[in-house]
């Protein structure tokens, strides 16, 4: 089973970090005790640019959970379709060749889910199996690949699609000037990514295009860490829970998770050539680097993604994966670890061989 293709899609409104900070300072002029705090927090998020589904001046007109979620559904369908078409095109197949769809998001809700709405737009088979996933947050990109690979392990002739759409800008809360929300509005952005995962007996398995094999996956749940990250749901929608302990939790757990995972697969860390990690933020990436004693620039594509498009939650690690596939694929036979961590708190690791 392989990751055959990844396609990302970003909404059209692109802003520099300072433009976004300024817009929020103006929007919250009567709420912020110290506007410089927001500006300084945003300036240290490791983010230079982000894309949003609306022009910045439109967001203040979207008041309450309903209007924001309605906007989310419409935009998620559009962006999801673009990402899917890009991934399918790269894989050289059509929607008709997909047997199952895994759809992951944490920034909006819908029933029928976004994947269902996309089946009405694209020629997926009517028998396509749907698995919408809500709530895994940032870990869902890696978890989605893992669950999709479980599926093609059982059905090796089939191709499946993972789609992640995250529109974090539609979760901004006007009545929350907490540090967590100020950081959140400086870090998270909008984007989508689709991944084609093919079984070992799929026609895609023999193509020449770089397509790393998925050798193994590992989920690790960290007990009693519910308050580290997530949402508090209110009548206004999603209110961020983001503890300053996130980097500490990452640093304390990642090394053990990786070592145990590799050992169970007959490998050690020196066998790993590249690390395809979720672009969580500067503190998270630093914690990952320190935990694994990584050499400088080992996570350069993750830092680059963070800088250029921000944290896309579940879609981030998929965007980094796209960068590896399209720009600098691994040497044949080399190993990579794809990893993300997120609310629970928990980690998902995927062992790849190019």
């Amino acid at each position: 089973m392989r990751i055959s293709a990844v396609g990302t899609a970003y909404p059209q409104y692109r802003y520099s970090q300072s433009q976004i900070s300024q817009a929020l300072i103006e929007r919250w002029a009567d709420k912020l005790e110290e506007p410089r705090l927001l500006q300084r927090l945003h300036a240290n998020c490791g983010v230079n640019f982000r894309n949003f589904v609306f022009p910045l001046e439109v967001y203040p007109t979207l008041v309450g959970f309903g209007p924001n979620n309605d906007a989310w559904i419409k935009a998620a369908v559009e962006l999801g379709e673009t990402a899917i078409l890009r991934a399918l095109d790269r894989a050289g197949i059509t929607a008709a060749d997909i047997s199952a769809i895994f759809f992951a998001t944490v920034t909006g809700i819908a029933s029928p889910t976004i994947d269902a709405r996309l089946i009405n737009r694209l020629p997926f088979p009517v028998n396509v199996k749907r698995t919408p996933i809500f709530g895994l947050g940032c870990v869902a990109g890696a978890a989605g690949i893992a669950r999709a690979s479980d599926y093609v392990r059982a059905f090796p002739k089939e191709n499946v699609l993972l789609l992640s759409v995250e529109l974090c800008s539609l979760t901004w809360q006007d009545d929350d000037q907490s540090i967590a929300n100020l950081i959140s509005t400086g870090l998270f952005a909008d984007g989508a990514a689709a991944v084609v995962i093919s079984g070992s007996e799929s026609p895609l398995a023999t193509r020449q295009r770089p397509a790393p094999r998925i050798l193994a996956t590992r989920s690790t749940f960290y007990r009693n860490t519910e308050k580290v990250m997530g949402w508090d749901i209110s009548s206004n929608g999603f209110k961020i829970v983001l503890s300053p302990d996130v980097p500490k939790v990452v640093e304390e757990n990642l090394l053990g998770n990786v070592q145990g995972f590799l050992q169970d697969n007959g490998l050690q860390q020196s066998d790993i050539s590249t690390y395809i990690f979720h672009s969580g933020g500067p503190k998270v990436l630093e914690a990952m680097e320190q935990s694994l004693s990584l050499p400088p620039n080992a996570l350069a594509p993750s830092w680059k993604s963070l800088s250029e498009v921000g944290n896309l939650s579940a879609a981030s690690v998929l965007a980094v994966m796209e960068d590896y596939l399209e720009v600098h694929p691994g040497e044949p036979g080399s190993y990579s670890i794809l990893a993300a961590m997120g609310p629970a708190f928990c980690s998902e690791l995927v062992l790849l061989q190019w």
Binding site: E34, L41, H42, P244
Partner: protein, 81 residues
């Protein structure tokens, strides 16, 4: 230790409720349990004390007390507009 260094240490000590004697130029922010938010608050105090403006994106590169002192020296020696 010169005046700039001592004043920076005093600001950091006060901000974190620490004994200034326990802080040296080599002290890392990690060892003093200074997180990102602490750094921002300290940066505001330092700006006010020395009448300088620290670039918003400069904080990520500050890892030790000595880094703060070096930064203040640079900014206080630059001609003001």
């Amino acid at each position: 230790m010169d005046d700039i260094a001592q004043r920076c240490i005093d600001i950091i000590a006060k901000s974190k409720g620490l004994d200034p004697q326990s802080i040296s130029l080599e002290s890392s922010f990690d060892s003093l349990a200074i997180d990102s938010l602490d750094k921002i608050n300290i940066s505001f105090e330092v700006e006010e004390a020395f009448n300088i403006e620290i670039p918003d994106d400069a904080l990520g590169s500050l890892k030790t007390v000595g880094d703060v002192v070096d930064g203040v020296r640079r900014l206080t020696s630059e001609p003001t507009a």
